[in-house]
């Protein structure tokens, strides 16, 4: 059709306007722009990866209890032996009593144990010193010891403990942390990215210039959304794959689980982009975007089970947590990834996300500004 002439004058080029073509051109431009925007890459990939790295290297067990062994304690007894075999417990030896006391005071070790064989007896006496600096871990140790003694104090010489444990999937820190980080990455991409882009396109009159072309408003929004969702999904895939291969993130049904997670991620970004549209409408300048965006993202970052299970929050706080959309995205992600549930099994979470989406977009339609 088109020849090589440099002057296009008189070329029989036809101008066939197509909405799809315009939308895709916008999506492509937007995607290129996002990939070159340092803040987008940092928020979507770098932050979540840093957190995942930190928690990934913290090890598999999650909680550790550091127990000091008092100098002069009997070492060749079944109690110490059992403690040594308990993965959660790390025994600290070879420190003086004074040193241990200081560590206890600061909570650097969680307890100190002193085992002595009773005179003229096969039984042992076990002295445990807890510290108020670390009561919760002390309590875990107490129940561990109780388990041991329940058997042992009766038959002190028998080293065998009758415990039956159901072989379960090991729930690793990464299995909790990664979905939370993924959710947060989607939240920041959706909120910050969308808000910044639409505000700056509006302020620099880029959108006005678009309006001088035959492109439809819907194409501008959809093109931008395609790019952002595409970028968010690439980021999500990257995080999941990295988590799986380097930190043993559990994907119960392999690729199917990944696909389910990406579907959830898409839903999440779409909902979160709604916040971005609202913010771009109410922010008067670029410097107003971060504070308003933080009002949306920070509470969810802290309260939606990104780092801690929301069950760990005080009772009065939990209803707030349960009102936030990220809570349900995180919840659904964890159930899909770790418990291997299908999307239908997390329909309640999906439904709440959709309800949030409807509410957010109802507001966005009201406050969004084109010019």
């Amino acid at each position: 059709m088109q020849n090589d002439t440099k002057s296009a004058k008189g070329n029989p080029e036809t101008v066939n306007f197509s909405n799809t073509k315009a939308t895709l051109a916008l999506a492509k431009a937007s995607f290129r722009s996002i990939m070159r925007s340092p803040s987008a890459v940092i928020f979507t990939l770098a932050f979540p990866l840093i957190f995942i790295l930190v928690f990934g290297f913290l090890g598999g067990g999650g909680t550790h209890i550091d127990v000091g062994i008092a100098p002069g304690s009997d070492m060749s007894n079944p109690v110490i032996g059992m403690l040594e075999q308990t993965r959660m417990i790390r025994l600290k030896k070879e420190k003086s009593k004074v040193e241990f006391d200081k560590l206890l005071e600061k909570g650097n070790i969680d307890a100190m144990i002193d085992v002595q064989r009773k005179v003229n007896s096969q039984a042992y006496s076990v002295k445990v010193v807890y510290t108020s600096a670390s009561m919760d871990k002390g309590n875990i140790l107490r129940s561990v010891l109780n388990n041991l003694f329940y058997d042992k104090s009766l038959k002190p010489t028998v080293a065998e403990i009758k415990e039956s444990t159901v072989e379960g999937r090991e729930y690793k820190t990464i299995d909790f942390i990664l979905p939370g980080q993924l959710g947060f990455s989607l939240l920041s991409t959706g909120v910050f990215g969308t808000a910044f882009v639409f505000l700056s396109l509006r302020q620099t009159l880029v959108i006005k210039r678009f309006f001088a072309t035959p492109v439809k408003r819907s194409s501008i929004v959809i093109g931008e959304a395609i790019a952002r969702i595409g970028f968010a999904l690439i980021g999500a895939l990257f995080i999941i794959v990295l988590g799986h291969f380097f930190f043993g993130f559990t994907l119960v049904h392999g690729v199917l689980t990944v696909v389910n997670m990406l579907i959830l991620a898409t839903l999440g970004v779409i909902v979160f982009m709604g916040f971005g549209f609202i913010i771009s409408g109410i922010a008067k300048s670029e410097s107003m975007v971060p504070p308003i965006s933080n009002i949306v993202t920070l509470p969810q970052f802290l309260l939606s089970g990104t780092f801690f299970s929301i069950e760990a929050f005080p009772n009065w706080l939990q209803p707030i947590s349960r009102a936030l959309p990220l809570t349900y995205l995180n919840d659904a992600m964890r159930k899909v990834a770790f418990e291997g549930l299908g999307l239908w099994d997390v329909k309640q979470q999906i439904l709440i996300l959709i309800l949030w989406g409807i509410g957010i977009y109802a507001v966005a339609v009201k406050v969004f500004k084109w010019e």
């Binding site: 059709m1 088109q2 440099k6 002057s7 296009a8 004058k9 070329n11 080029e13 036809t14 101008v15 066939n16 306007f17 197509s18 073509k21 315009a22 895709l24 051109a25 916008l26 492509k28 431009a29 937007s30 290129r32 722009s33 070159r36 925007s37 700056s200 396109l201 620099t204 009159l205 880029v206 006005k208 210039r209 678009f210 309006f211 001088a212 072309t213 035959p214 492109v215």
Partner: protein
């Protein structure tokens, strides 16, 4: 200018912003293949008028047709045959010139070679540069390139030479004349009368939302002279800008 066929007809255009009457009954025609200048002080209603014709702004009343298309009913068709350069408009962030041209080609559904578009405005060397990194003159030439993507019948240039040095300005005049010579009608606004005199085939003076004069620059000047006007200072055969160009060279710097 023998064939005086109107490609744009503006009839009794009115635009009110709340209490402010920005445009108060403008009537004028723009002929095919001419460079038409809208001149006037800031706030006279030039940009408002342009943006209404460009379908970017609602009018309060009046009729406008662009190439026979009604602005009320056929805005979408009008957009396809016009090219628009906005005052102080930016471009999509983080993209280079080629990518921006590709984007606009997609927005217009035009099948063009981006490099050929850049060659038209002599920016082929800047193909991989970002818009922000261009000089003032290059930015304006790039903006003009984006107006040509859909091979429009009319292009609108809103103060394209504001802030440019004399060389860049003359360079842009050449480009605009070339576009006109290739058969495109050009509507331009400017504050510079020397520019209007050199560039425009016809000019309209707009003042407080009304047209107070409309003719060729030559006729307007002759009329004034015939009315007995005399410059206080005798006109020399050259002016200071000629001196500047003579001293610093025609050659346009980046």
């Amino acid at each position: 200018m023998e064939t005086r066929k109107a490609i744009i007809s503006v009839n009794n255009l009115v635009k009110n912003y709340d209490d402010f009457k920005a445009v108060q009954g403008l009537t004028f025609d723009v002929y095919e293949h001419e460079i038409f200048g809208l001149l006037g002080p800031n706030g006279a209603g030039k940009t408002t008028t342009l943006e209404i014709i460009e379908t970017l702004r609602e009018k309060t009343s009046g009729e406008i047709t662009v190439d026979g298309l009604s602005i009320d009913k056929q805005a979408q068709e009008i957009k396809q045959i016009i090219g628009v350069q906005l005052q102080a408009a930016g471009y999509y962030p983080n993209l280079n010139l080629i990518e921006l041209i590709e984007l606009f080609a997609g927005l217009y559904g035009a099948d063009i070679k981006p490099m050929a578009m850049l060659e038209k405005v002599n920016l082929q060397d800047k193909a991989k540069a970002k818009y922000k990194a261009l000089s003032g003159g290059q930015k304006q030439r790039f903006s003009i390139a984006t107006t040509l993507i859909n091979q429009p019948k009319i292009i609108f240039l809103d103060e394209p030479t504001t802030g440019l040095d004399p060389q860049a300005r003359r360079n842009l005049w050449d480009l605009i004349k070339e576009i006109r010579n290739n058969g495109t009608t050009v509507v331009i606004t400017t504050h510079y009368m020397d520019e209007a005199e050199q560039l425009c085939d016809r000019v309209a003076f707009v003042e407080r939302g009304r047209i107070i004069a409309l003719d060729t620059p030559d006729n307007l000047i002759d009329n004034l002279v015939n009315s007995g006007f005399e410059r206080k200072k005798e006109v020399k055969k050259a002016n200071l800008e000629d001196v500047f160009i003579n001293l610093t060279g025609q050659e346009w710097r980046e």
